[in-house]
């Protein structure tokens, strides 16, 4: 049986919650973002590379590797409770679907803030290095892999299954990227920002369609995952053991 209590949400409580969720629940996300920022800034300032090489390397990090890293880290946020056998406690205060969505949104606000800041600094150091819209578009593939992992985790009630499934899809997309690009073109290529600066030389005009397409997929998967979590299967499964 799931108990629910109504709490008054003051701004102070809300800020404390945000602080808790960002800094206490998953500090590794912040560490990963800081490390990524340092590496990207180092590459921006590294004079031995041509500008085009720097653009390619930075997009390789931000567009290909960062999404899977973010997905890996965010996937454990809700599962933390399940793996630690404390989902029942969390569930007594808030619906697991809401808890998952809240954490996911908070993490993506953090990542978005980071992207804006990072691209802002990089563009300040080398004007015109990247289009500012990348701060938003880069979030899409990060969200995509996060939602794929979350969906499989919710379906299987196992963090590891989610990670393996997400990682597998990423590996397939990444290793077969030349074939994918040839087959489907830039409009459906999942790592488009990288492809723009890589040898594919994808047209930037494909960005809008590409991101809209993947954003729709993301929201679809997000809705399914939310519904799955709302059924509190984590707790039910746990209580059966």
């Amino acid at each position: 049986m799931v108990l629910k209590q109504v709490h008054r949400f003051t701004m102070k409580r809300y800020m404390r919650l945000v602080y808790y969720e960002i800094f206490k629940v998953q500090p590794s996300l912040l560490i990963a973002l800081v490390v990524t920022a340092l590496v990207s800034l180092f590459l921006t300032l590294e004079g031995s590379f041509e500008i085009s090489e720097r653009q390619m390397f930075i997009m390789y990090i931000l567009g290909v590797f960062l999404p899977i890293l973010i997905a890996l880290l965010t996937n454990s946020w809700l599962m933390k409770e399940r793996d630690g056998h404390t989902a029942t406690f969390a569930c007594s205060r808030v619906n697991l679907g809401v808890l998952w969505l809240r954490r996911l949104l908070l993490s993506f606000f953090t990542v978005a803030f980071f992207m804006f800041a990072l691209l802002g600094i990089m563009n300040h150091l080398i004007p015109g290095l990247f289009p500012p819209i990348f701060a938003l578009t880069l979030l899409v593939q990060a969200l995509l892999f996060s939602v794929i992992m979350a969906l499989f985790s919710a379906l299987s009630c196992s963090t590891t299954v989610g990670i393996i499934a997400g990682l597998f899809i990423w590996v397939i997309l990444y290793f077969w990227s030349p074939s994918l690009y040839t087959l489907f073109g830039p409009r459906y290529f999942p790592f488009l920002e990288w492809a723009i600066y890589f040898r594919y030389e994808a047209p930037i005009s494909a960005l809008l369609f590409n991101k809209l397409f993947y954003a729709i997929i993301c929201f679809l998967l997000l809705a399914i995952t939310f519904c799955l979590h709302q059924r509190n299967r984590q707790v039910e499964r746990f209580s059966r053991h």
Partner: protein, 699 residues
Amino acid sequence: MKIFLRSFTAQWKLFVWDKVNWLFSLLVLVVALVTNPISELPETTALGYIENIARITGYIACLLFVILYLRFFLNETEKGHNHLWSRNVFGDDYLILKAGVGIAGFLTLISPTVCLTFILSVAFFGIANALNAIWVWVIILLPPVCFVISICSLIGLLINHILVASGVIIIYLGFVLTRPVDLGNLLIFMPTLQMNSALIGFGPETEMLIYQRLFYVCVALFLLMIAFLVTDLRLPRVKTKHSWNAVAAISILSLASLFLSVFWGKKLIDLQHLRSVEPNFQTRQNLRSVCSHFQSYRLYLELSADGAIASGLAEVELSPGRDISALSLLNTGLAVDRFEVRDGDPIRIELQYHGRFVVPYYAYSVYSLPKEIEQIGYAPGAYLEKNLIFLQKLGEWHPYALCSPDEITLILPADITINYNSADTESIDGDMRRLQWQQASDHILLIAGAKYQIEEQEKDQIYLSPNPGLREEDRNEQYGTFFRLVWQNLYDAEGSGSTLIPLPLIKQSYWESEASTLIIPERSRQIDYIWPDDMAKYSENVAMDVLLSWWCREQHCPDLAYGLFSRGSDIDCSYEKSEEASGDKEDDTSSLPLLYYAALKLVEEAEVSGFDHEALLESYSLLLKNEATSIYSPFRFTPKNVETLIRLNNFDAQYGSEAFWDLLLKAFDKSNGGWIEGEVLLELIDTLPEQSDGVETGT
């Protein structure tokens, strides 16, 4: 030991009973089946099939296994396992137990893939070939898995957080795995092999592959030893006093693995230096101009049983006033022992050398290389290993590689099987065989040591690799057909008693006329790239290769071979560009449409399904009128080439096949270095019918 084995079994059961781990097994199986469909098995070899599956399994498995192994490795370090850590034995054996179970667990999880692959290999290639290819699994897959387990153990211990540790390792592995570099790079733990031959296996890459694998096994052991050192610091165990024996054993193992890592790494880098050399075009150009000043060039070569050059001696007599001291093109694996110049008329030069022949990377790379490298063909001109010895007349196994030797004496162990040789004299003295060539005219001097199966077809002989697949049989049939057709059309003979020999590494066929032997490339990137998607186009390529071997039989013309197979897939663009640039001085490539048209005639005569001669020529006519925009062509056509092709077609239509083949023979007589001038060819087209029949031309 008993306790260790019991713990090992218990841990292995824990690992294997975890249902999540079998998801990994399923994914690996799916990827193996999807990337190597059963329908394509007849087109490959057992070695190629298993190497491909092992490599893809390795790529996918190494990344996914990180998650499973770290989860398993750090399982007992989480809360709730204090009772286990209270026992000293558990802490003592923890690392070795986890690493061992990691390897055993990995093998268990990939066993469905291995079993299925093995069953398919037995079904398609026979039990002997399937068993022979098992070592490929071991050599390709085990070192990277050991490396991944070691690095995961070390990073897992240091970070002690599954997600962060797996994120760090996956980023590192993902970055390293997609680097487009070859075997010699020390970072690459999962190499992509360029060579895969039914006759010589991984061929020139075998030695590097072995060094690379040994390097990674030693690195894995060294990382594990470092992990041992940090176990006391990072594991929640009761600290105990270590015995001196254990400390000494760990220290010795650490030092030994470090030393061996450096040793194998150094050997790998040294070999990579030898292998990564590129052709010296300046020296080649200078040498080519000096060859004509050689009054005599004699070679004496002694090979050991493993194919190494035990002793080589080149004696040159040179017109005075020439200096060839800096013109040696000797292979980088060979060392010069003595270089002596005796002045006089003529100048006498002696160069003595020995060593192991190293095939450079550019000579067998499957990737496209710069035009000037592609144009020189298989420049090393030899392969000297235990399982195959072959020598081309012109090659880097002798110092003045582009000059044709007047006399060659080769001594090799008598027990090496001679598959083919063009020697003038042959004798056996004790346990050594002596072969001698005087003014050798054939391109290929010797093929020995290969385990060919010889198939007799009427009077013809076809050499097959030890495990010929359907692909090899189809290819031989195609080559055999076109070989016969060339004989029929050009010599009005059946070409009976001919021999077909596939040879690895070479890039074009060789027509050894005296012996009626066609030596064909075992696998050629330029010829086979279209296989098996379009049989008609593939037949065109084979016909062109056979014709080219006939055309180049008395001269060395790899640049023509490059020109003929330079692929004109972007003809729609190049045609326009060439037209714009037609005013500029450009190379005369008139041999190309002539040989191409002759090849089209052969394909038409062979009645290859899907080939429509008229439709193809019609599309070229439209291209000339700018009414067609895109057309497949084996090489880059210039407008001049298209025009020549159409004129050849008109000529053929008007005067018939016999006149065309006569034209080809006449054109061959007028060619120089494989190339014929466009004007000469057009003059032949216009005047030949008049000369032969007195028939008025109306083209």
